[in-house]
Structure formats: C-alpha cells, structure tokens
C-alpha cells in the first residue's frame, strides 16, 4: 500500500532529469523498470475486480441477493469454512507442532506429504477423497458399514473437502512460527516445573498467536473459496452442499447477472476479512 501511494514513475525515461535519477537511487521515486511492471501487475490484479463492479447488476442486486438459494449458499459457505477452520485448528496445530519439533526420522517426508494438497489441483483432491471416503472408498466403506454414515453429498462432506484443501495452509504457517519461536522461554517454563503440555498451552501457543491467526484466516479464506474438491466430493445441491463458489459457477450457466451478484458478495466478504485483520495480517506475514 505504501509504495502505491507514491506517484507512479513516468514511463518516458528520456525526460528524466539527473535529480530524479538521483532521487530514485536514494529511494525517493520508483525507477521505471520496476515501476512499469509493478503498475502492470497492480492493474492486472485490480482490473478483473473493476470488471465485476462495472458489470454488476446494481439495480437488480436486492432481488438477486435476497433469493433464498443465495442466502442458503452464503450461510452454508460461512458455516462450512468456519467448521473447516475449527477442525484444522484442532488437528492441524498439533501436527504443525510435531512437524516443527519432532526429531523422529521421516518427519521431513511427512511434512512434504501433508502439505501436498497445497499444490495438488483441488479436483484431484476431490477424486482422492471420493476414493478414500466415498461409499466405495477404502475408509468410506467401513464408515458406512459401522455407522451407516456416508460423507459424499452431505454438508459434512463439504467440510471434509474444505478441510483437506485448507488445513495445509494453516499447518505451513503455524509450523514456521513454531520453528522460529523463542525456545528459551519454553525451556525456562520447563525448568520451573511445567509439563510439556502446560508449556505448549501457556507459553508456545501465546508466542505464536499472530501466526496462528494469520494461518487461521488463510485457511478460512481458502476454505471459503474451495470449489474443485467440493463439487467433486460433496456434489452440488442447493442448501446442502452448494456453497457460494458452486452457486456462482452454476448461476453463470443460466443467470450471469446472479453469478456477478454472488461474486460481489464473496468479494465483499474477502475485503471485510482483509480489512478486519490487516494489521495483524501484515505483521504476521512479515515475521512468518
């Protein structure tokens, strides 16, 4: 934000005076070989958003957004993303701790494997989830035999898909923080007689709180935007598994105006998250 506040460098280098060049070297203005691509990058990222705003069906917006299917999708999206984040915190933070602190051989291999969903195309994740937790899946079959529960096409299935895709974002953020956090404080607590679990709860976690928050937000945002794994594993049914991204995709085929309206809502939610956590986000991002 800070650099963008400055006036953009002129794209005509021929007109630059010696003073300007001097100032650029001193960090006063932005040199054009950096400024021009930077401006292009910023435009590239902002123009699609402007496109959404320009083409938004503002007049029909109240009607489009109060449609029960839209409200269902929004409610479902917020619920599932929050649940996926909660599950990720509950299971992912301990895993991140183990990955950061364990001396056991093979930990690095495990780290690489559990963060695989970061780079895996989400649709592939969805197929993998079907083959594992689907009705005919290796785990899903047992789950159905023992409990009668099947995950695909349920809201729980959406949470599973979102957790699968989003948890690695939390793990990788928090693991980095565990790795770089001050071990001296932990050791001090331990010498004072605290058990490892007490140390974890009262010293380690508060120490990494900013990263924990950043990781949780990243995880939540990724879960909110999840599409591929969800539609593949949990299917698409309004009110049950149709989250906002699915609703946008489906609406684009029949009612593009509705798709734009839905996209605006997601954009607003994203902006709200970023604005609400801006300072913590930036500071955590810088240190983590």
């Amino acid at each position: 934000m800070k650099t963008a506040d400055r006036p953009p460098a002129g794209p005509s280098p021929g007109k630059r005076t010696r003073n300007q060049a001097h100032a650029a070297a001193a960090g006063g203005t932005i040199p054009w070989p950096l400024g021009v691509p930077a401006l292009l990058a910023a435009l590239f990222l902002l123009v699609p958003l402007a496109g959404l705003l320009v083409r938004a069906p503002w007049r029909g917006l109240p009607r489009l957004l109060t449609d029960s299917q839209v409200l269902d999708a929004l409610r479902l999206s917020l619920l599932c993303a929050s649940a996926a984040t909660a599950v990720s915190l509950l299971l992912g933070v301990p895993l991140a701790w183990v990955l950061a602190r364990s001396q056991v051989r093979g930990t690095s291999v495990l780290r690489a494997l559990v963060t695989l969903p970061l780079v895996l195309p989400p649709v592939v994740g969805g197929v993998a989830l079907l083959l594992a937790f689907g009705r005919e899946g290796i785990m899903g079959r047992l789950l159905e035999q023992w409990t009668g529960i099947t995950l695909p096409f349920t809201t729980a299935g959406v949470i599973v898909a979102e957790t699968f895709v989003a948890m690695p974002f939390l793990i990788i953020t928090v693991e980095g923080a565990f790795r770089t956090s001050d071990r001296g404080l932990e050791e001090a607590a331990a010498t004072l007689g605290a058990t490892r679990l007490t140390v974890f709860r009262t010293v380690t976690v508060p120490l990494i709180a900013p990263s924990l928050l950043a990781g949780a937000v990243l995880c939540w945002a990724r879960a909110l935007g999840e599409f591929g794994a969800t539609i593949t594993f949990a299917g698409n049914f309004p009110g049950r598994t149709q989250t906002m991204p699915l609703a946008v995709y489906v609406a684009l085929e029949s009612d593009p105006d509705a798709a734009v309206a839905l996209s605006l809502v997601l954009l607003l939610v994203s902006i709200a998250v970023l604005v609400g956590l801006r300072d913590r986000w930036l500071s955590a991002g810088a240190s983590g």
Partner: protein, 267 residues
Amino acid sequence: MRRATLIITTIATAGLLLTGCGATSTTAGSSTRPSTSASSPAPVSGTVNVFAAASLREAFTALGKQFEAAHPGTKVVFNFGPSSGLATQITAGAPADVFASASAKNMDQVVKTGDAASPTDFASNVMEIAVPPKNPAAITALSDLAGPGVKVALCQPAVPCGVTAAKVFTNARLTVTPVTQEVDVKAVLTKVSLGEVDAGVVYVTDVRAAGAKVRGIVIPADVNASTRYPIATLTKAPNKATAEAFTAFVLSADGASILTADGFAKP
C-alpha cells in the same frame, strides 16, 4: 483522502484499459470478416474449435477423427461441457467456430445475441436410468427413484439433461429429490459409475458409451422425454471455412451413421 484518490485513479485507468482492449478486439473481428466473405472459397485447413454438449463427447470425438482424416491439415479441437455453460462462453466472446447444443433453448440463446444463425437439428436423444453394475438399491423401474433413501444424481436444472429428466418425472407424475445436481451429464455418469449414488438419469447414449461401468434401465416410451441437438457455424468463427465444412460433415450421411452407431436418433 490520498487512498481514495488512488482508488479512483486506479479504476479510471482500469476503465481506459478495458475500452482499449475492447477497441482492439473489434478491429480484429472486422478484419477477419472480409477474408471469409471473399468470392474464392477459403481453404479448409487449420484448427477448428468445436463447442459441443457433454453428451456428444464420444460421437463427436469419432466424428472429429474422421473429419481430420478426410481433410488433411485440419485439426478439430473440442470443448465439451454443459450446453448452457458453452452458450454463456460463446456469448461472452469465446473463440468458437461451431456450437453443437443438446437443446434448442441454449442454441436460441446464442442465436439471439447474433453469434449464430440458422441452426440445424442433427440428432435427438432420450433418457435412461443408469445404475452402478451391482445395482445396490435394486432399482428396476423409474418409480424406484422416488423411494426413501435412494440416492439419485441428476443434472442441474439449467442443463438440457436436467430439463429433460425433469420432463420425464413430470410425465410419470413422480417427485424425485436428488442428492446432487451435477454440472453436466458426464458428471452424473461418473457419480454412478463410482457407486457414490444409487442411480442417475442420463441419455441413452451415455449409458451405451459407459460400457460395463454402468447398467442401463430403460424408461418406458410413454413417459420418456427427448431433446434435439442443433448445430451451427458461429457468425464470428475465426476459421469459418473449416467450421462450415465440419458442420456439413456432422449433417452428412457419414456423420449421421456415426451418431446412430452411438445410439443417437435422427432428429
């Protein structure tokens, strides 16, 4: 204040950039037009982009291979998907040469915006129930799909296969609540062949194309519904000569025999 000014400047610049791009694409479009309407027939060669309904995947893939063999130097590139989605892509300016839709409605959408003119029906299709080979819910008739606890996958209501399946249920006076509304007919078929649902309603041709992966249960003719497939060369086709040749091939006797072999009916 500074931040607000920045935002306004950014949006203004973005607007300029948008109009700039728009202008470029219009010129590009008009410059290709004279070459296609030239008196000497343009050569049938190069790449032709065919946007086709998902249910046409197998038949059109075969058609494309025959077309390429008959016209050396051509390459047929397919974009298979839900007809409604393809229509939206075309009206949004996707560089398509030919559109083959699974319903008149989605073709009309493209005709209305001037992207296509005078489509021709080339095939028709009826619905069938697809169940996993083991048939876990012991489905034998259409009415079984309305049974409690039976997991059914349908196409979402905007897609031709969803529309046609809904007609079947209306004809049979059945209320079927699916567990999922998939984006196209092949996605329904996948959910069936993986055994994740007990049944799906797809086209007769999809059951045939899936081979042993699913089992088909015939829907009686008195309640079954059909859809017609129109095809058209698009008005803004980047490779119009080849597009017209491909459309003509689909409508030819050779084309019809491939479609019939895959289970499609004459329009």
